[in-house]
Protein backbone atom coordinates (compact mmCIF):
# COMPACT_ATOMS: atom_id res chain seq x y z
CA UNK A 1 0.00 0.00 0.00
CA UNK A 2 1.31 3.47 -0.93
CA UNK A 3 2.14 5.74 2.01
CA UNK A 4 0.43 9.12 2.25
CA UNK A 5 2.43 12.40 2.05
CA UNK A 6 1.65 12.92 5.75
CA UNK A 7 3.23 9.53 6.59
CA UNK A 8 6.32 10.47 4.56
CA UNK A 9 6.67 13.78 6.42
CA UNK A 10 6.20 11.97 9.74
CA UNK A 11 8.94 9.51 8.77
CA UNK A 12 11.30 12.39 7.90
CA UNK A 13 10.57 14.11 11.24
CA UNK A 14 11.08 10.86 13.16
CA UNK A 15 14.43 10.11 11.50
CA UNK A 16 15.69 13.67 12.02
CA UNK A 17 14.75 13.44 15.71
CA UNK A 18 16.50 10.05 15.96
CA UNK A 19 19.69 11.48 14.46
CA UNK A 20 19.53 14.54 16.70
CA UNK A 21 19.48 12.38 19.81
CA UNK A 22 22.86 10.92 18.84
CA UNK A 23 25.77 12.45 20.64
CA UNK A 24 29.06 11.13 21.82
CA UNK A 25 30.19 11.15 25.45
CA UNK A 26 33.04 13.63 25.84
CA UNK A 27 32.75 13.96 29.63
CA UNK A 28 35.98 12.02 30.29
CA UNK A 29 38.02 14.59 28.36
CA UNK A 30 36.62 17.45 30.48
CA UNK A 31 37.26 15.45 33.66
CA UNK A 32 40.80 14.53 32.60
CA UNK A 33 41.83 18.14 31.97
CA UNK A 34 39.84 19.45 34.91
CA UNK A 35 41.68 17.20 37.35
CA UNK A 36 45.09 17.65 35.71
CA UNK A 37 44.94 21.45 35.71
CA UNK A 38 43.47 21.73 39.21
CA UNK A 39 45.98 19.28 40.76
CA UNK A 40 48.97 20.83 38.97
CA UNK A 41 48.00 24.38 39.89
CA UNK A 42 47.22 23.59 43.55
CA UNK A 43 50.47 21.61 43.81
CA UNK A 44 52.41 24.55 42.36
CA UNK A 45 50.74 26.90 44.86
CA UNK A 46 51.66 24.62 47.79
CA UNK A 47 55.27 24.24 46.59
CA UNK A 48 55.64 28.04 46.26
CA UNK A 49 54.22 28.49 49.76
CA UNK A 50 56.77 25.94 51.03
CA UNK A 51 59.55 27.93 49.27
CA UNK A 52 60.28 25.20 46.70
CA UNK A 53 59.94 27.63 43.77
CA UNK A 54 62.57 25.79 41.74
CA UNK A 55 60.48 22.64 41.46
CA UNK A 56 57.03 24.24 41.70
CA UNK A 57 56.22 23.42 38.07
CA UNK A 58 56.80 19.68 38.56
CA UNK A 59 53.06 18.94 38.46
CA UNK A 60 52.72 20.49 35.01
CA UNK A 61 55.85 18.76 33.68
CA UNK A 62 54.64 15.32 34.78
CA UNK A 63 50.88 15.61 34.34
CA UNK A 64 50.54 17.46 31.01
CA UNK A 65 52.44 14.88 28.87
CA UNK A 66 50.62 12.06 30.71
CA UNK A 67 47.26 13.75 30.08
CA UNK A 68 48.08 14.28 26.39
CA UNK A 69 48.83 10.57 26.02
CA UNK A 70 45.66 9.69 27.98
CA UNK A 71 43.61 11.99 25.73
CA UNK A 72 44.95 10.36 22.56
CA UNK A 73 44.10 6.89 23.94
CA UNK A 74 40.61 8.06 25.03
CA UNK A 75 39.91 9.63 21.65
CA UNK A 76 41.01 6.50 19.80
CA UNK A 77 38.64 4.45 21.99
CA UNK A 78 35.82 6.95 21.38
CA UNK A 79 36.36 6.79 17.61
CA UNK A 80 36.00 3.01 17.75
CA UNK A 81 32.66 3.31 19.54
CA UNK A 82 31.21 6.13 17.46
CA UNK A 83 28.83 5.03 14.75
CA UNK A 84 28.08 8.54 13.56
CA UNK A 85 29.76 11.89 13.27
CA UNK A 86 27.30 14.69 13.93
CA UNK A 87 27.61 18.28 12.66
CA UNK A 88 28.26 19.27 16.28
CA UNK A 89 31.16 16.77 16.52
CA UNK A 90 32.74 18.45 13.49
CA UNK A 91 32.28 21.96 14.93
CA UNK A 92 33.69 20.83 18.29
CA UNK A 93 36.71 19.37 16.52
CA UNK A 94 37.46 22.73 14.91
CA UNK A 95 36.73 24.64 18.11
CA UNK A 96 39.07 22.61 20.33
CA UNK A 97 41.78 22.56 17.65
CA UNK A 98 41.57 26.38 17.56
CA UNK A 99 41.70 26.37 21.37
CA UNK A 100 44.78 24.10 21.40
CA UNK A 101 46.63 26.25 18.85
CA UNK A 102 45.76 29.48 20.71
CA UNK A 103 46.77 27.94 24.05
CA UNK A 104 50.05 26.85 22.49
CA UNK A 105 50.72 30.42 21.30
CA UNK A 106 49.92 31.84 24.76
CA UNK A 107 52.12 29.32 26.57
CA UNK A 108 54.93 29.86 24.05
CA UNK A 109 54.73 33.60 24.78
CA UNK A 110 54.77 33.23 28.58
CA UNK A 111 58.03 35.18 28.73
CA UNK A 112 56.38 38.22 27.20
CA UNK A 113 52.99 37.81 28.86
CA UNK A 114 54.48 37.27 32.35
CA UNK A 115 51.76 37.57 35.02
CA UNK A 116 49.12 37.98 32.28
CA UNK A 117 49.58 34.36 31.13
CA UNK A 118 46.93 32.77 33.35
CA UNK A 119 44.24 35.38 32.58
CA UNK A 120 44.89 34.75 28.85
CA UNK A 121 44.68 30.97 29.38
CA UNK A 122 41.42 31.44 31.30
CA UNK A 123 39.95 33.56 28.52
CA UNK A 124 40.66 30.71 26.10
CA UNK A 125 39.14 28.18 28.54
CA UNK A 126 36.09 30.44 28.67
CA UNK A 127 35.71 30.47 24.87
CA UNK A 128 36.10 26.69 24.53
CA UNK A 129 33.73 25.85 27.35
CA UNK A 130 31.09 28.50 26.59
CA UNK A 131 30.88 27.62 22.87
CA UNK A 132 30.83 23.87 23.61
CA UNK A 133 28.00 24.39 26.09
CA UNK A 134 26.04 26.36 23.51
CA UNK A 135 26.66 23.77 20.79
CA UNK A 136 25.47 20.81 22.85
CA UNK A 137 22.90 22.90 24.76
CA UNK A 138 24.38 22.10 28.15
CA UNK A 139 23.92 24.89 30.65
CA UNK A 140 26.61 23.76 33.13
CA UNK A 141 29.30 24.26 30.45
CA UNK A 142 27.91 27.69 29.50
CA UNK A 143 28.02 28.76 33.17
CA UNK A 144 31.51 27.22 33.46
CA UNK A 145 32.67 29.32 30.51
CA UNK A 146 31.31 32.49 32.13
CA UNK A 147 33.09 31.53 35.40
CA UNK A 148 36.39 31.31 33.46
CA UNK A 149 35.95 34.86 32.17
CA UNK A 150 35.04 36.21 35.61
CA UNK A 151 38.09 34.48 37.11
CA UNK A 152 40.24 35.80 34.22
CA UNK A 153 39.30 39.37 35.19
CA UNK A 154 40.04 38.62 38.86
CA UNK A 155 43.44 37.18 37.93
CA UNK A 156 44.59 40.52 36.50
CA UNK A 157 44.37 41.94 40.03
CA UNK A 158 46.15 39.25 42.09
CA UNK A 159 49.76 37.98 42.30
CA UNK A 160 50.70 34.95 40.18
CA UNK A 161 50.71 32.44 43.04
CA UNK A 162 47.08 33.28 43.89
CA UNK A 163 46.21 33.12 40.22
CA UNK A 164 47.02 29.41 40.56
CA UNK A 165 44.23 28.96 43.11
CA UNK A 166 41.83 30.91 40.90
CA UNK A 167 42.82 28.74 37.94
CA UNK A 168 42.00 25.61 39.97
CA UNK A 169 38.66 27.14 40.97
CA UNK A 170 37.87 27.97 37.33
CA UNK A 171 38.56 24.45 36.06
CA UNK A 172 36.47 22.94 38.86
CA UNK A 173 33.57 25.15 37.70
CA UNK A 174 34.20 24.80 33.97
CA UNK A 175 35.47 21.23 33.54
CA UNK A 176 35.04 19.06 36.63
CA UNK A 177 31.45 19.88 37.66
CA UNK A 178 30.11 20.01 34.06
CA UNK A 179 32.15 16.86 33.28
CA UNK A 180 30.34 14.83 35.96
CA UNK A 181 26.96 16.33 35.02
CA UNK A 182 27.62 15.54 31.35
CA UNK A 183 28.41 11.94 32.27
CA UNK A 184 25.10 11.67 34.14
CA UNK A 185 23.23 13.15 31.14
CA UNK A 186 24.90 10.74 28.74
CA UNK A 187 24.12 7.70 30.93
CA UNK A 188 20.46 8.77 31.17
CA UNK A 189 20.22 9.01 27.39
CA UNK A 190 21.94 5.75 26.49
Amino acid sequence: MENTPKQHLDLIAEMIQTARREYNDSSNIYLLWGWVVSIASILQFILIQMHHEGMSGIGWVVLIPAALIAQIVMMMKMRKKEKVQTHIDTIMGYLWTAFGVSLGIVLFSQGKLQENTFPMVLMLYGIGTFVSGGAIQFRALIIGGICCWVVAIACFFVPVQYQLLLLALAVIAAYIIPGYLLKIRYKKNV
Binding site: P5, H8, L11, M15, A19, E22, K80, K83, V84, T86
Partner: protein, 95 residues
Amino acid sequence: MFKELDPILHSQLRLAIVSLLISLDEAEFSFLKEKTNATSGNISVQLEKLKEAGYIDIKKSFRNKYPLTTCKITKKGIQAFETYVKDLKTYLDPK
Protein backbone atom coordinates in the same frame (compact mmCIF):
# COMPACT_ATOMS: atom_id res chain seq x y z
CA MET B 1 -0.79 22.20 -8.09
CA PHE B 2 0.77 18.80 -7.29
CA LYS B 3 4.47 18.44 -8.07
CA GLU B 4 5.89 15.14 -9.27
CA LEU B 5 7.81 13.55 -6.40
CA ASP B 6 11.42 12.40 -6.84
CA PRO B 7 11.12 8.60 -7.36
CA ILE B 8 14.52 8.01 -5.75
CA LEU B 9 13.36 9.52 -2.46
CA HIS B 10 9.77 8.34 -2.71
CA SER B 11 10.60 5.02 -1.10
CA GLN B 12 10.22 4.59 2.64
CA LEU B 13 13.66 3.13 3.32
CA ARG B 14 15.61 5.47 1.03
CA LEU B 15 13.76 8.44 2.51
CA ALA B 16 14.53 7.24 6.04
CA ILE B 17 18.25 6.87 5.18
CA VAL B 18 18.47 10.34 3.62
CA SER B 19 16.53 11.87 6.55
CA LEU B 20 19.07 10.39 8.97
CA LEU B 21 22.06 11.47 6.87
CA ILE B 22 20.77 15.03 6.46
CA SER B 23 21.16 15.53 10.22
CA LEU B 24 24.64 13.99 10.46
CA ASP B 25 28.05 14.54 8.94
CA GLU B 26 28.45 10.84 8.35
CA ALA B 27 27.03 7.57 9.61
CA GLU B 28 28.12 3.97 9.64
CA PHE B 29 26.15 1.24 7.87
CA SER B 30 25.37 -0.43 11.23
CA PHE B 31 23.82 2.81 12.54
CA LEU B 32 21.55 3.16 9.49
CA LYS B 33 20.56 -0.50 9.80
CA GLU B 34 19.76 -0.16 13.51
CA LYS B 35 17.69 3.02 13.14
CA THR B 36 15.71 1.94 10.08
CA ASN B 37 15.16 -1.66 11.23
CA ALA B 38 15.97 -2.83 7.71
CA THR B 39 17.84 -5.97 6.73
CA SER B 40 21.49 -5.70 5.63
CA GLY B 41 20.62 -6.87 2.13
CA ASN B 42 17.81 -4.38 1.64
CA ILE B 43 19.78 -1.47 3.03
CA SER B 44 22.78 -2.29 0.79
CA VAL B 45 20.57 -2.22 -2.30
CA GLN B 46 18.98 1.11 -1.32
CA LEU B 47 22.36 2.68 -0.48
CA GLU B 48 23.64 1.65 -3.89
CA LYS B 49 20.62 3.30 -5.56
CA LEU B 50 21.18 6.50 -3.61
CA LYS B 51 24.84 6.43 -4.56
CA GLU B 52 24.02 5.91 -8.26
CA ALA B 53 21.72 8.95 -8.09
CA GLY B 54 24.62 10.95 -6.62
CA TYR B 55 22.70 11.62 -3.40
CA ILE B 56 25.20 9.97 -1.05
CA ASP B 57 28.89 9.08 -0.92
CA ILE B 58 29.90 5.67 0.37
CA LYS B 59 33.34 5.17 1.87
CA LYS B 60 34.63 1.68 2.46
CA SER B 61 37.48 1.15 4.91
CA PHE B 62 38.58 -1.17 7.70
CA ARG B 63 38.40 -0.94 11.48
CA ASN B 64 40.11 -3.62 13.55
CA LYS B 65 40.46 -5.72 10.40
CA TYR B 66 36.66 -5.63 9.86
CA PRO B 67 35.16 -3.85 6.84
CA LEU B 68 33.57 -0.51 7.67
CA THR B 69 31.06 1.28 5.44
CA THR B 70 30.45 4.97 6.09
CA CYS B 71 27.82 7.07 4.30
CA LYS B 72 27.60 10.79 3.82
CA ILE B 73 24.97 12.90 2.05
CA THR B 74 26.18 14.96 -0.94
CA LYS B 75 25.21 18.51 -1.94
CA LYS B 76 23.03 17.02 -4.66
CA GLY B 77 21.37 14.81 -2.04
CA ILE B 78 20.67 17.78 0.24
CA GLN B 79 19.13 19.71 -2.67
CA ALA B 80 17.02 16.71 -3.70
CA PHE B 81 15.83 16.22 -0.11
CA GLU B 82 14.85 19.88 0.25
CA THR B 83 12.97 19.82 -3.08
CA TYR B 84 11.26 16.56 -2.10
CA VAL B 85 10.01 18.01 1.21
CA LYS B 86 8.79 21.17 -0.56
CA ASP B 87 6.95 19.11 -3.19
CA LEU B 88 5.51 16.81 -0.54
CA LYS B 89 4.04 19.79 1.26
CA THR B 90 2.03 20.74 -1.86
CA TYR B 91 0.05 17.53 -1.38
CA LEU B 92 -0.87 18.53 2.17
CA ASP B 93 -1.62 22.13 1.40
CA PRO B 94 -2.47 22.34 -2.34
CA LYS B 95 -2.79 25.95 -3.59
